[in-house]
Symmetry: C2
Subunit: 107 residues, 2 copies
Amino acid sequence: MSKSHEILFRALADPTRRAIFERLCQDGDQTVAALTARAKVSQPAVSKHLGVLKQAGLVRDRHEGRQTHYTAQPGALAPLVDWTSRMAGFWQSRFDDLEDLLKRMDQ
Amino acid sequence: MSKSHEILFRALADPTRRAIFERLCQDGDQTVAALTARAKVSQPAVSKHLGVLKQAGLVRDRHEGRQTHYTAQPGALAPLVDWTSRMAGFWQSRFDDLEDLLKRMDQ
DNA sequence: CATACACATAACTCGTTGGTTATTGATCAG
DNA sequence: CTGATCAATAACCAACGAGTTATGTGTATG
């Protein structure tokens, strides 16, 4: 449970996978064919990436006839947000000056 | 610049590297020897990881005599926060669009 | 000056992974 | 029923990445 960011970071590490996820976030529901058309890789590659994203909970699939629609689940990004704010939090707790933190975050 | 999350995701994808970064965030300044002691890998491995983290801007090094101290730079996480909120934002805006549509259909 | 120490770099191994083509399973059209 | 289409799976391969041991570079110390 405390390791849920492990699978997330791994899933989002690959650029092709991020591109697919970004597209699903921007444009919503997409069939595999539609995603493949925009991607620079073959359909099996896209399917494999979607499998990884699904495993990470980042997408959901829905079958309609002979095509499969995928949808982004941005809520699954929560553990990642938690992790980053925890890191920033550790950092912050070692400094009493909040403004100093914000300045560093700004740069 | 707009692709700075590429190197970030890649740097944070590895568990050993995240562990090192987490430790630097929690406990602050650390020498390579101190980090190696806690890590489950050899000193050269730790050095290599630190190199990657440094490349990503996540850590900074400071030389003191014959030892090197590393410090976390959590501000470098900003592009990652941007990315995640952008993904959530896309999602939210499409949700808003749907709400607008439904409102218009109502009247 | 010689030795020990801290860290970085080099050279290499090996498992993982992202890509491919070929094939299968399922569904729709004629 | 037949052929075409969409997606998933299988089988394979090349490249990459994280790990190791060995060595190099620089600094403190006797």
